[in-house]
Symmetry: C2
Subunit: 252 residues, 2 copies
């Protein structure tokens, strides 16, 4: 029952060409028809029966929860290559919406589960996926627990920077598909604070904009400084390692 074909020429071939080994997770989806979402379109809602697992082929989605007073918490962004809904049981824990026009493929959960259960090559890949998801959640918790607005924004930009290009290329430009409001809801800030922090980083010379109109493409002028300001503590040449200094621990 396993998809053993590779790169079957489905009519709608998306822009993002992913690695296509036989028996990899991507191959599992490759037989399914592509589905197109317009910007803002929902894929599923929090609380729905979790009947499908999705692979993102193109575009960016946001996953989020709406809490009682109407506020929105974005728990993650998903890009080409990401898989949605692996670590779920009965119901979706969050809603998923396209930010940009996006392409996805879906697989019935029961099919996905049995395929993974019966395939020794697939299982580690799914496991790795879940581990990454968990690690990302941990990082986000640290970010939300401790970091200042500036640190949050810098961490966010740094993550996108690492994702988009290799660590070379001096004045690198990153394209943020999401709005300021999305960023705010992801970073646990308000839109105003995000905006103010962006301008502060601009005046510091960390960022710049090609032309003032394109507020979603950000040029990183000083990668090193960005990493410093992100405050993850593991940037270049941290001399002490596994020498944990307990002691003064204050501030939140």
């Amino acid at each position: 029952m396993m998809s053993a074909t590779s790169f079957t020429g489905v009519s709608h071939t998306p822009k993002a060409v992913l690695v296509d080994r036989t028996n990899c997770l991507h191959a599992l989806f490759s037989k399914q028809p592509a589905e197109y979402l317009v910007a803002g379109q929902s894929l599923f809602f929090e609380g729905d029966d979790a009947n499908h697992v999705f692979e993102v082929l193109d575009g960016t989605l946001r996953i989020f929860r709406i809490i009682s007073d109407g506020r929105r918490v974005i728990t993650g962004f998903l890009d080409a290559g990401d898989v949605i809904g692996v670590s779920l049981r009965e119901h979706y824990l969050y809603s998923a919406e396209a930010i940009t026009p996006s392409t996805v493929r879906r697989l019935p959960r029961r099919y996905f589960d049995s395929a993974v259960a019966s395939n020794d090559e697939l299982r580690p890949e799914v496991f790795a996926q879940v581990c990454d998801e968990m690690a990302a959640a941990q990082d986000q918790m640290v970010l939300l627990s401790c970091k200042s607005a500036e640190e949050r924004l810098c961490s966010f930009l740094l993550k996108y920077l690492k994702r988009t290009i290799g660590p070379s290329e001096r004045p690198a430009t990153i394209e943020l598909p999401m709005s300021r409001q999305d960023m705010a809801d992801y970073l646990g800030l308000t839109i105003e604070t995000v905006s103010r922090t962006v301008t502060k980083l601009t005046t510091k010379g960390v960022l710049s904009f090609e032309n003032p109109g394109m507020r979603h493409s950000i040029r990183i002028e000083r990668q090193g400084m960005l990493a410093q300001l992100a405050g993850d503590g593991d940037e270049y040449g941290d001399p002490r390692r596994d020498l944990i200094v307990y002691g003064e621990r204050r501030r939140h």
Copy 2:
């Protein structure tokens, strides 16, 4: 290779007697010797090679990360029945320490992995474990993103309340094994704020203390009010459901 025995009378039988079906996750650990930890003792450190998976038999542990400036972020507490280290790859993402005197059993990761891979009854259980972990992480992100100090504390107490007793028993008492500092580091607050919020809830009549000395055993006087103040929006009789009111969304 699978442990097919059930309830082998190992010399060190812990206090907490867990369900012991054949082939369940607990049975997998049951052959291993019990290890005892004194309060404050470390089980492993963030960054160590993740060579073992642990089952907690008794006591409470904290898992946490120390960030660059010395602050500590507690990402979870673990009690009897919990398993540590499933969703990890190369290295531990956090340190683990006993809060109270604790008992654990350990299993080499490679043994654990192969046992889970080859056993169709074990896999869903591990999967469920990971899903719960993920769901908890999501909830924590929401808590840290949006909630006020009072909401955070109430959510925390409510979780402990649900865990310890059935939803009956009017003036229920919960035993918190961790210090105020632990609570603060878990809730993304300072110790002072936790302390102040506890007293505020006391004056509101939500909580009380048997005698002022025992600050770790808290009597919940008004469960309903606690649930209200936790602000999860899903407590008793929320009339509107799947009628999501978009619109005014502010505050953080």
